[in-house]
Amino acid sequence: MSKFKKKKGGEIPAVNTASLPDIVFMLLFFFMVVTVLRDNNLLVQNTLPKADQLEKLKKDRSVFIYAGKPSARYKDKYGTEGKIQIGDKFTDISNVKFALTEAREALRPELQDKVMIALKVDEETKTGLVTDIKQQLRDLNMLKIIYITAPGDPTDQ
């Protein structure tokens, strides 16, 4: 009797993919929320040195200073000497104070006197440049600094 014919066995039913868009959307929203688009366009080389005695940076109260050799496509224009970058542009050592005061004013008012200077300096830079920056910071009375480093053991090279 055809009514009770056995189903043709062996075939596995196809996986239902109706919820696939939902899953993908969920992932999409997650990544959209955690994404921070780079706010600074790096003009200098920036390979951070390694260290393992680290503390976390409090992001809301920090001002970044980058230093290093100009990156490959700016080499012709700016040479290969170590340069300082604050915000989006190169800054001369004599201009650091002005740029930093400006950067500080962009922070939330209650955090302005707790400002922390985050130094992102390329590992090939000379220490003299960093010393100059630190002297400027002392003049400005911004005394809290943090040398941003990459985690790792510094002694094996």
């Binding site: 985050a118 220490t127 809290k144 040398y147």
Partner: protein, 204 residues
């Protein structure tokens, strides 16, 4: 005339569009993980009569322009710096009022009296590379952290660096004020006394 029902929009390509966006955000995401060595700079003012530090309480580390390390007038490898700094800080050679009850060092009268008196002075050349500078700083901080961990382990049964990190991240469970007090006590036992001399011009 009967109104015709609007045909349903085909949503079959929705998944494709979402995938495209997803891949875009996956690629652009950089989960920020900035960490580093925090430091407090000395204020820029003239000190009228600087305190006199005895030679034996001073641990001089200098780095030249070729990234070579000179510690207490002896050439040293970076790998040995941490050990040497711990030995110096933990020496506890003082007697009487300056004795150090918690030091476990050699008590050599020619080395530091107690950790409160001991000062590490770092001198760089202007042409020293930044990675060397950070390595030296890192090793010295590591020496302090080692000793602080040892003391907090002895007094309170936990590690200084771990509790400090937990408080910073807000994941510490327990009495935070109490722990903060204890951290300060440990910091008083081994205060971070790192001095940085004005760097030399190259070749001097």
């Amino acid at each position: 005339m009967a109104r015709r029902a609007t045909p349903e929009v085909n949503a079959g390509s929705m998944a494709d569009i979402a995938f495209l966006l997803l891949i875009f955000f996956l690629v652009t995401t950089t989960i920020e993980k900035d960490k580093g060595i925090a430091r407090q700079l000395p204020p820029d003012e003239e000190i009228e009569d600087p305190p006199i530090i005895k030679q034996k309480n001073l641990f001089i580390v200098s780095v030249n322009k070729d990234d070579q390390l000179l510690v207490e007038d002896e050439l040293m490898k970076v790998g040995d710096l941490r050990e040497a700094a711990i030995k110096f800080l933990d020496n506890g050679g003082g007697v009487g009022k300056e004795a150090c009850s918690y030091c476990k060092g050699a008590r050599d009268p020619k080395s530091s009296d107690n950790p409160d008196k001991a000062v590490i002075s770092v001198q760089n050349d202007r042409l020293t590379s930044y990675s060397m500078y950070i390595t030296v700083q890192n090793e010295l901080v590591a020496a302090y952290n080692f000793l602080r961990n040892r003391e907090s382990q002895r007094l309170f049964g936990w590690k200084f660096t771990e509790v400090k990190q937990a408080i910073d991240e807000g994941s510490f469970n327990g009495n935070e004020d109490d722990a903060q007090d204890k951290l300060e006590r440990i910091q008083k036992l081994f205060p971070l006394k790192l001095s940085e001399a004005e760097p030399k011009k190259s070749g001097q």
